[in-house]
């Protein structure tokens, strides 16, 4: 069983489109995260949610909107996609605080043309 799963694995789209990435964890964790990894492998936190509440929003453009329908899911919706949004997006989860072990999904490679 996959602990943290993301769909889709690959996403290729045109500038200006709107797209969503879904994340689900079956570990029973109460905290979930979205990270962005750029082409130089630099990994940066975007959002974190604890029990469906937004805890961290790291100066991400308003075009990015996370939604957590329940503790096991954290989806990421992106409006008006730009070239600079091309990256690998990782979902992760942990029990409680961020300093507890974070379990990462396999990533979603987004390419904006």
């Amino acid at each position: 069983d996959t602990a943290v799963s993301q769909t889709p694995k690959y996403l290729v789209t045109q500038m200006g489109n709107d797209k969503s990435i879904k994340c689900e964890q079956n570990l029973g964790h109460d905290t979930m995260y979205w990270y962005k990894q750029d082409s130089k492998k630099f990994l940066k936190i975007m959002f974190s949610y604890n029990n469906k509440e937004l805890i961290i929003n790291e100066t991400v453009p308003n075009r990015f909107s996370p939604k957590s329908p329940d503790k096991a899911h954290l989806n990421l919706h992106i409006n008006s996609l730009e070239l600079g949004d091309s990256a690998v997006y990782f979902c992760a989860s942990s029990q409680g605080q961020a300093y507890n072990e974070q379990f990462f999904g396999p990533g979603t490679r987004l390419t904006v043309l």
């Binding site: 492998k41 630099f42 974070q102």
Partner: protein
């Protein structure tokens, strides 16, 4: 603000040789420190972490790291590497912030094992 510097972007090592991957951090307060590993086309996996206590931390797959507060370092070591250790290694820091911790990652070190 917290930050992490990984001094080597790539480290080639012969199989069964020892390796050290360097990590230095910057913070004005106490920190937690981590090493995560990313195998090709996969998400990150925790290798080890330092929260408190002994400054020598042992992790999975034979890796260990030592927290040195005076040098603000958290270098990762393994006495004998294997082909399967080929991966990207990320050092991360989190300032202790009473429930609002977040991880800041370094830019990664690509470890390549030469047969």
């Amino acid at each position: 603000a917290q930050s992490v510097t990984q001094l080597d972007s790539q480290v080639p090592v012969f199989e069964e040789a020892p390796v050290e991957l360097r990590c230095n951090y910057s913070s004005s307060v106490s920190v937690y420190l981590f090493w995560y590993v990313q195998y090709p086309n996969q998400g990150l996996q925790l290798l080890l972490k330092y929260l408190s206590g002994s400054t020598l931390v042992k992790g999975i797959n034979g890796f260990e790291a030592e927290f040195n507060k005076s040098q603000t370092s958290f270098h990762l070591r393994k006495p004998s590497v294997h082909i399967s250790d080929t991966a990207e290694y990320f050092c991360a820091v989190s300032e202790i912030n009473f429930g609002n911790e977040k991880l800041t990652f370094g830019t990664g070190t690509r470890l390549t094992i030469i047969p």
